[in-house]
C-alpha cells in the first residue's frame, strides 16, 4: 500500500495493511464497497479488486466464489455498509455459509458522509442524525452481529479492535485462522474514528470501550440463549 487516503490516526490503516499482506501472499481478490474504504481498490496496488455498490459486496463476493472456487476472497466493509444497508446480503451469506472472509470495520457511525447514525451506533450516543442521542423508542436498539451469526453455527465470528496493539495482533491471528476456514468468516473490528469521536485519544478510548462492551454483551447473551456453546 504505497499511499493511503484515510484520516490521520484512522483505525482502518493497520487493518488494511494486514488484509493487503494476506491478499498479496495468497493472490486473492479484495471486494470493496462504499464508505471510508471506497478507495480501497486504488490503495491495494497489486491486488485484483472489485468495487461494488453500497452494501452489496457480499453478493458480488458470492458470485465470485461460485465462479472462482479456488480464489481467496475478502470483502472489506464498514458497519454502515455491512450492517445497515447491506444487512440482507450479510444474513443470506451467513445462511449460505459461503467461503468468504468479511472484514467488518465497525466505527459505530457513517464516517465518510460526515457522522450520521448507523445500525451499530450505541444507545444515547449523539451523531448528526441523533442530535439528542440514539433513543430506543425512536431509533431502535443497535444491531448485534454476533447474534446474526448464530443463525448458522458453521459460520465463524471473530471480534477484535484496531485501537490497541493487542487488538491489532489479535486481528492478525484471527485473519490467518479465517483464511483457512471452510465457510463464512466475519471479523468484526471495533475501530476508532479520530475525525468524529472528539479527538484521537477519545476515539481510541471509545473504540476500546465498545470492544469491552461487546465482550460483556456476548457473555450476557450466551447465558440467555439456550444451547449456546460459547
Amino acid at each position: 500500500m504505497l499511499v493511503h487516503r484515510y484520516c490521520p490516526g484512522c483505525g482502518h490503516i493497520n487493518i488494511s495493511k494486514e488484509v493487503e499482506k494476506q491478499l498479496i501472499e495468497k493472490q486473492g481478490i479484495i471486494i470493496g464497497s462504499v464508505g471510508c474504504s471506497v478507495a480501497l481498490p486504488e490503495l491495494f496496488e497489486v491486488v485484483d479488486a472489485v468495487s461494488s455498490a453500497h452494501g452489496r459486496a457480499l453478493s458480488v463476493a458470492t458470485a465470485l466464489r461460485r465462479c472462482l472456487p479456488d480464489t481467496l476472497l475478502i470483502t472489506y466493509q464498514g458497519d454502515g455498509d455491512c450492517c445497515t444497508i447491506g444487512i440482507g446480503e450479510l444474513i443470506h451469506t451467513i445462511l449460505r455459509n459461503e467461503r468468504i472472509v468479511c472484514v467488518l470495520i465497525n466505527n459505530n457511525q457513517f464516517a465518510m458522509t460526515g457522522f450520521q447514525m448507523s445500525a451499530t451506533t450505541p444507545i444515547d450516543i449523539k451523531t448528526k442524525t441523533t442530535v439528542n442521542g440514539r433513543k430506543e423508542s425512536y431509533h431502535g436498539i443497535p444491531i448485534n452481529v454476533k447474534l446474526l451469526m448464530k443463525q448458522n453455527p458453521k459460520a465463524k465470528y471473530y471480534l477484535s479492535n484496531s485501537a490497541s496493539k493487542k487488538g491489532i495482533d489479535l486481528f492478525k491471528e484471527q485473519l490467518k485462522e479465517a483464511l483457512n476456514n471452510d465457510g463464512f468468516s466475519l471479523l468484526e473490528v471495533m475501530s476508532p474514528c479520530p475525525t468524529f469521536w472528539g479527538n484521537a485519544k477519545k476515539s481510541y478510548e471509545f473504540a476500546l470501550e465498545q470492544y469491552e462492551k461487546k465482550i460483556e454483551e456476548e457473555e450476557h447473551y450466551c447465558t440467555c440463549l439456550n444451547g449456546c456453546d460459547n
Binding site: E42, V46, V50, S51, R56, S59, E89, H92
Partner: protein, 344 residues
C-alpha cells in the same frame, strides 16, 4: 433443421445455455418465472442462485461478470426497477451481462398482463449516463436469437444488454430453432487470473480492477470518453451480430410521402397485418436502442403501444418532421380491427 415447440421464456433460457451461460441468478416474478425454473433443472446448483431479491440478483451478476463468465437473469418491470442501481454500476465498471425483461402492465405492482411500458426504464437504465443496448424481439424464434446476439454484444461492448419482451411473447408457444454463436473474445480484463505482480508502480500494474468509482479528474475524463465512444460505436457493433436490426416494409406508393405504422413485441406482429390490410408501410425494431431507421419518406407515422408512450417518445425524436399519432391500448394486445378503428 431441429425445431422444437417451446414457450418464449423457455426458448430464451435454452438459448442462453446453448450460448455459454455459466452463471445464473434470479428471483421469481410473473411472467418470467419459467426462465428461472428451466435453468434450475438444467444448471449445476453451484452456478445457479435463487437470490433473495433483485437487488442481490444484479450484484451477483456484477460479481460473475467481473470474473468474465457469461451471466444473465430474467425479471419483469418491478424487478428491473430494483436492478437499476446495479445496472448503472455495471455500465460504469464495464461488466457484461444479459437481462431478460418480460414487461408487464403498469407502474407500481400493476398487473401481469402484457405491456411495452418498460421502454422508458430501459432507455436510461440507471443513474448517470447509462444507456444500454435494448433488443425487442417479436416472436419466440427472435427471442432465442436475441439471447444469442445479446451475449455477444454484451461481451463485445462490455455492457449489460436488455432483452425486452412482453408477457404474451414470454408465455406463448411457437416452433423455434436454437442457434449457437461462434463469437469469442479474450476477456483479459477479468479478475481472478492470478497474475499479480508484487513489485510494481501504479501505472504498470497488471492487476485487474473492476470499479465504477473514480476519484481523480483524469480517470473521470477517461471514463466519460470511454462511455461516449462506446455509445457512438454501439450501433455498428450491434449490427455485426444482428443481421436484421429492424423489420421494414416500405410504403413506396406515395413516393416521398410515406405512411407508416410501428410497434414492438407482439403488437409489432399485429401491425404488420394492419399495414397489409390498409396498404401502408411498417417497421418493427428488433434493436430498439440504438435505434437506427433508414426510411427517409416517413410523413405520417402511427405508433401503437400497450400501456405507455415510450416508443412514441423515441419516434418523435427520430422523425421530427413526421406527423406522429400515438395509439395506446391499456393492458391487452390489440387486434387489427381495434387498431384500424383507432387510426381513423
Amino acid at each position: 433443421m431441429n425445431k422444437k415447440f417451446l414457450q418464449g421464456n423457455v426458448a430464451a433460457a435454452l438459448s442462453a445455455l446453448e450460448n455459454g451461460l455459466k452463471f445464473y441468478a434470479g428471483y421469481p416474478i410473473t411472467p418470467s418465472t419459467e426462465f428461472l425454473e428451466v435453468l434450475a433443472e438444467k444448471m449445476n446448483q453451484r452456478i445457479f442462485i435463487n437470490s433473495f431479491s433483485e437487488l442481490e440478483t444484479i450484484n451477483l451478476l456484477y460479481g460473475a461478470g467481473s470474473a468474465g463468465v457469461r451471466c444473465c437473469t430474467a425479471t419483469s418491470g418491478c424487478g428491473l426497477s430494483l436492478m437499476r442501481e446495479g445496472l448503472s454500476y455495471m455500465v460504469g465498471a464495464k461488466v457484461p451481462a444479459v437481462i431478460y425483461n418480460v414487461s408487464r402492465y403498469g407502474p407500481g405492482l400493476g398487473g401481469i398482463t402484457p405491456s411495452n411500458e418498460d421502454i422508458n426504464m430501459c432507455w436510461g437504465v440507471g443513474h448517470g449516463q447509462s444507456k444500454v443496448p435494448i433488443l425487442t424481439p417479436s416472436s419466440v424464434q427472435e427471442i432465442a436469437d436475441s439471447m444469442m446476439y445479446a451475449f455477444d454484444i454484451a461481451d463485445a461492448l462490455r455492457i449489460p444488454v436488455i432483452i425486452m419482451v412482453d408477457a404474451i411473447l414470454g408465455q406463448m408457444y411457437e416452433p423455434v430453432e436454437i442457434h449457437k454463436s461462434t463469437f469469442t473474445i479474450n476477456k483479459d480484463w477479468r479478475v481472478g487470473q492470478n497474475k499479480h505482480n508484487v513489485i510494481s508502480s501504479r501505472k504498470t500494474s497488471i492487476r485487474k480492477v473492476i470499479q465504477s468509482y473514480k476519484s481523480f479528474a483524469d480517470e473521470m475524463e477517461e471514463q466519460t470518453d470511454f462511455i461516449i465512444e462506446r455509445e457512438k460505436n454501439m450501433f455498428s457493433v450491434c449490427k455485426t451480430f444482428i443481421p436484421e436490426t429492424i423489420k421494414v416494409k416500405k410504403d413506396d406508393k406515395r413516393g416521398l410521402f410515406g405512411e407508416y405504422i410501428t410497434a414492438i413485441g407482439t403488437t409489432g406482429r399485429v401491425i404488420q397485418e394492419v399495414a397489409d390490410k390498409i396498404n401502408i408501410g411498417y417497421f418493427v425494431p428488433i434493436l430498439l436502442n440504438p435505434f437506427v431507421c433508414d426510411i427517409t419518406n416517413v410523413k405520417k407515422l402511427t405508433v401503437v403501444e400497450v400501456g405507455g408512450t415510450g416508443l412514441y417518445d423515441i419516434m418523435k425524436y427520430h422523425f421530427p418532421r413526421a406527423e406522429i399519432k400515438s395509439i395506446v391500448f391499456s393492458h391487452l394486445i390489440p387486434d387489427t380491427g381495434e387498431i384500424i378503428e383507432r387510426m381513423k
